[in-house]
C-alpha cells in the first residue's frame, strides 16, 4: 500500500471544516496557506469540503481565499462527524488525486480523523504546526511545531512518503482574500466509503459563546499552574470581567479540571490574539505560549524569576500570585470606575 515514490504527487490541499453548513474560520486560514504554498510550488491549491447542505456560497468563499479548485463532497452520510467515514472519504480522494501536501484543521475533528488517514496512507503526519514552508530544492514541506516544554521549536520533514500531512490550529495562519477564479468539482463517493462502525445519536451545542469570546477577546487573563489555589480563579474571572476580557488557561489547569477544556491556550488548545494578555503563574513553556500570538502587551506574574515567560513579557512581575492578584483587581476596578465605560 505504501507508495514511497514522490513522483506523480502534485498540489496542495486544505481540508475545510463546516459547522451547520457554515465554514469555520480556520478553513479560510488553511486555504490561504495552501495557496501560498501552492504558488511556491507552482501548482494548484485545492480546498476539500465535506458535509451535507453546503451552499454554493461556501465554495465561492473558499475560492476567494485562494482555492483554485474546490472538491465538494456532499452526502447526507457526512452530515454528522464520524471519524471512520471522514477518514475513508478523505483517504479515497487523496488516493485518486494524489496531492503532495494536505493541511487539515487541528480541531477536535481534524485531530481525530487525520491520524486514521495517515495510517491508511502509511505516511507522515505532524500535529499542531505553527509555520509551514517549502524547501525549494526538493519541494519538501518544512513543518514547524513546538517541542515539549521549555522554549524549543522543532522543524519536521517527511522527505519520502507522500502526501505530507499536517494539522494546523485555528488562529495560527492568516486568512487572505485573493482575486482568483476557481472551479468546483463534485467527486463521486462510492457507497463503501460511507459505511461506519459508529453512530452519533446526539450533538449538543454549548459554551460556544464563551469559547469564541476567548479567541476574540481584546483582553485575556491566563491562569497557570502557579495560581496554586482554585479559589484564585474567582479573582481571575473578576479581573477579566473588570477588563472586559476572558479567562484562558494552561493545560495544567484544564487537566486539573479547574477550567473547561475549551479555555486551554496552546499547541493542543486554542490560539488567542488579544491586545493585552496578563498571565498568572504561567511558566511559559512553548507548548502554551505558541497559543499567544500578536499580543501588544504581555504581562507576566510569576514567583519564579527564572520562568521563561519573563523572556517574552512586556512587563514582568516577580511575585506571589496570591499577593498581586487582589491588589491588581482592586486597582483595576478603581481605574475602570473613574473612566466612563
Amino acid at each position: 500500500m505504501r507508495d514511497i515514490s514522490k513522483e506523480g504527487w502534485r498540489g496542495v490541499w486544505a481540508v475545510a471544516e463546516c459547522h451547520e453548513g457554515c465554514l469555520m474560520p480556520v478553513s479560510l486560514e488553511l486555504v490561504s496557506k495552501a495557496r501560498e504554498l501552492a504558488d511556491k510550488l507552482q501548482t494548484e491549491a485545492t480546498a476539500v469540503v465535506f458535509g451535507h447542505g453546503i451552499s454554493g456560497a461556501v465554495c465561492d468563499t473558499l475560492m476567494e481565499y485562494g482555492a483554485h479548485v474546490v472538491q465538494l463532497v456532499e452526502h447526507e452520510a457526512l452530515a454528522v462527524f464520524r471519524d471512520d467515514v471522514f477518514a475513508r472519504v478523505l483517504t479515497g480522494l487523496i488516493l485518486s488525486k494524489r496531492p503532495e501536501i494536505v493541511l487539515a484543521p487541528a480541531t477536535y475533528t481534524g485531530k481525530a480523523y487525520m491520524p486514521r488517514v495517515q495510517t491508511m496512507l502509511e505516511t507522515g503526519l505532524t500535529a499542531g504546526c505553527l509555520e509551514l514552508d517549502i524547501r525549494s530544492d526538493d519541494r519538501v514541506l518544512i513543518q514547524t511545531r513546538a517541542a515539549w516544554g521549555g522554549n524549543l521549536f522543532v522543524n519536521i520533514v517527511c522527505p519520502d512518503a507522500r502526501p505530507q500531512l499536517v494539522t494546523v490550529s485555528p488562529n495560527v495562519m492568516i486568512a487572505r482574500r485573493v482575486v482568483a477564479e476557481g472551479r468546483v468539482e463534485r467527486p463521486e463517493v462510492p457507497f463503501e466509503w460511507l459505511k461506519s462502525g459508529m453512530e452519533v445519536t446526539e450533538s449538543v451545542h454549548e459554551k460556544q459563546d464563551e469559547a469564541v469570546r476567548l479567541t476574540k477577546a481584546d483582553v485575556v487573563v491566563v491562569a497557570g499552574r502557579g495560581i496554586e489555589k482554585r479559589e484564585n480563579l474567582k479573582l481571575l474571572q473578576e479581573l477579566a470581567d473588570a477588563l472586559g476580557g476572558a479567562v484562558g488557561a494552561t493545560r495544567a489547569i484544564t487537566d486539573l479540571g479547574w477550567l473547561p477544556e475549551y479555555t486551554q491556550i496552546g499547541q493542543t488548545g486554542v490560539t488567542v490574539s488579544p491586545r493585552l494578555c496578563i498571565t498568572f503563574g504561567v511558566s511559559g513553556a512553548v507548548q502554551h505560549t505558541v497559543g499567544l500570538r500578536n499580543i501588544d502587551i504581555l504581562v507576566a506574574v510569576n514567583k519564579d524569576p527564572a520562568a521563561p515567560i519573563f523572556e517574552m513579557a512586556t512587563y514582568g512581575i516577580v511575585a506571589d500570585v496570591n499577593k498581586i492578584l487582589p491588589v491588581l483587581l482592586e486597582q483595576v476596578k478603581k481605574i475602570r470606575c473613574k473612566s466612563p465605560a
Binding site: 459547522h19 469555520m24 462527524f81 471519524d83 477518514a87 477536535y108 475533528t109 481525530a112 487525520m114 491520524p115 486514521r116 495517515q118 495510517t119 491508511m120 507522515g124 503526519l125 505532524t126 500535529a127 499542531g128 517541542a147 515539549w148 516544554g149 522554549n151 521549536f153 522543532v154 522543524n155 520533514v157 517527511c158 519520502d160 461506519s196 462502525g197 459508529m198 453512530e199 452519533v200 445519536t201 450533538s203 449538543v204 459554551k207 460556544q208 469559547a211 487537566d255 479540571g257 477544556e261 493585552l276 502587551i297 504581562v299 527564572a306 519573563f310 523572556e311 512586556t314 512587563y315 514582568g316 512581575i317 516577580v318 491588589v327 491588581l328 486597582q331 483595576v332 481605574i335 475602570r336
Partner: protein, 261 residues
C-alpha cells in the same frame, strides 16, 4: 469475558524537568519518569468497566527496559497482565511506526473487545497514536472521550467537539482515546503493588512480533526531525520591582498610558 487493552507511555515527569536556558534543551539528568498522566485516566476507564463486568485488562507499552516500572504501576492499580515492547530497533519511532508495534503486539495477545488510550502524551503531544492504531486493528475509534458506558456489546461515548459534545455509539471491538476530565484515576493498592512486584511481564522484541526492520523505529518512520531551534522573543522585558502595591501601581500606570486600561 471482555478483553480490554490499555496502551500507556512512560514520559518525563514535568515537575522534575529543567531546561537549559541557552539551548532550550531538556536537561535529562535528574528527570524522573511517570506514566503519561492521561494514560492513567485510560486505565481508570478500563478498570471502571472491569468493576461492572467480567473483564481482563491488558496493559502494554513500547519503551526502554526501564518502562517496566510504568507497567508495574499499572498492575498495582488493578490491570491483569502487562507486556513490554522493547527493542533497540524501536527507537526513534514516530506515531506511524509506533502504531505498527502496538498493533502487532495486540494481535499477538489476541482479540480485544476494546482498546483504551490516553488522548495524547505530554511529550509527543500529537494525539495520533490512538486513532492510527484503530485503523491497524480495523476498529472504529472515537477521540476526546469524556464519558464511557458499556452495555452488552455497545459502547456509549460522550466526546468533546468544538461546539459542545456528541453522544456516540460503537459496537465492540472498538477503540477510544480519553481526556483527563473523564475520571479520577484510583490509587494503587498495597496488595496490587505486592502482586505487581513479582508479576511476570513478557518483553517482546521486533522479532517476537514478526516486524520487519523497515517498518519500525527511525527506519519505519516517514517523518524526520530536521533541526530544533530557540526562538528569541522581542519583548520589552521590563521588570516591575517593589512590593505588591508598588508593582501593581507601576503596571496600571503603564497600561493606562498604553490605552488598554
Amino acid at each position: 469475558m471482555l478483553n480490554i487493552a490499555v496502551c500507556i507511555k512512560q514520559v518525563p515527569d514535568a515537575r522534575t524537568v529543567r531546561f537549559d536556558k541557552e539551548t532550550g534543551m531538556m536537561i535529562r539528568e535528574g528527570v524522573e519518569t511517570i506514566i503519561n498522566p492521561v494514560d492513567l485516566n485510560a486505565l481508570e476507564a478500563a478498570l471502571a468497566i472491569k468493576d461492572g463486568h467480567d473483564a481482563r485488562i491488558h496493559v502494554l507499552t513500547m519503551g526502554p527496559p526501564s518502562a517496566d516500572k510504568a507497567l508495574r504501576d499499572a498492575l498495582s492499580m488493578g490491570a491483569d497482565q502487562a507486556y513490554l515492547l522493547s527493542d533497540r530497533a524501536f527507537a526513534g519511532a514516530d506515531t506511524l511506526a509506533t502504531t505498527r508495534v502496538l498493533a502487532a503486539a495486540l494481535k499477538k495477545i489476541g482479540q480485544m473487545d476494546m482498546v483504551v488510550c490516553g488522548n495524547q502524551s505530554v511529550d509527543g503531544d500529537t494525539a495520533q497514536v490512538g486513532p492510527g492504531l484503530a485503523v491497524r486493528l480495523e476498529m472504529p475509534s472515537v477521540a476526546y472521550v469524556n464519558a464511557l458506558e458499556l452495555t452488552a456489546d455497545t459502547l456509549k461515548c460522550i466526546r468533546m467537539t468544538g461546539h459542545g459534545h456528541d453522544t456516540v455509539l460503537m459496537k465492540t471491538p472498538c477503540l477510544v482515546t480519553v481526556i483527563p476530565s473523564i475520571n479520577t484515576p484510583r490509587m494503587p493498592s498495597l496488595k496490587g503493588k505486592m502482586k505487581a512486584k513479582s508479576a511476570g511481564i513478557p518483553v517482546w522484541t521486533a522479532n517476537d512480533l514478526g516486524l520487519s526492520m523497515n517498518d519500525i523505529g527511525l527506519a519505519g518512520s516517514p517523518t524526520r526531525v530536521l533541526n530544533t531551534f530557540v526562538r528569541s522573543f522581542e519583548a520589552r522585558r521590563e521588570r516591575l520591582e517593589g512590593d505588591a502595591d508598588a508593582q501593581v501601581a507601576a503596571l496600571c500606570e503603564r497600561l493606562v498610558a498604553a490605552g488598554v486600561l
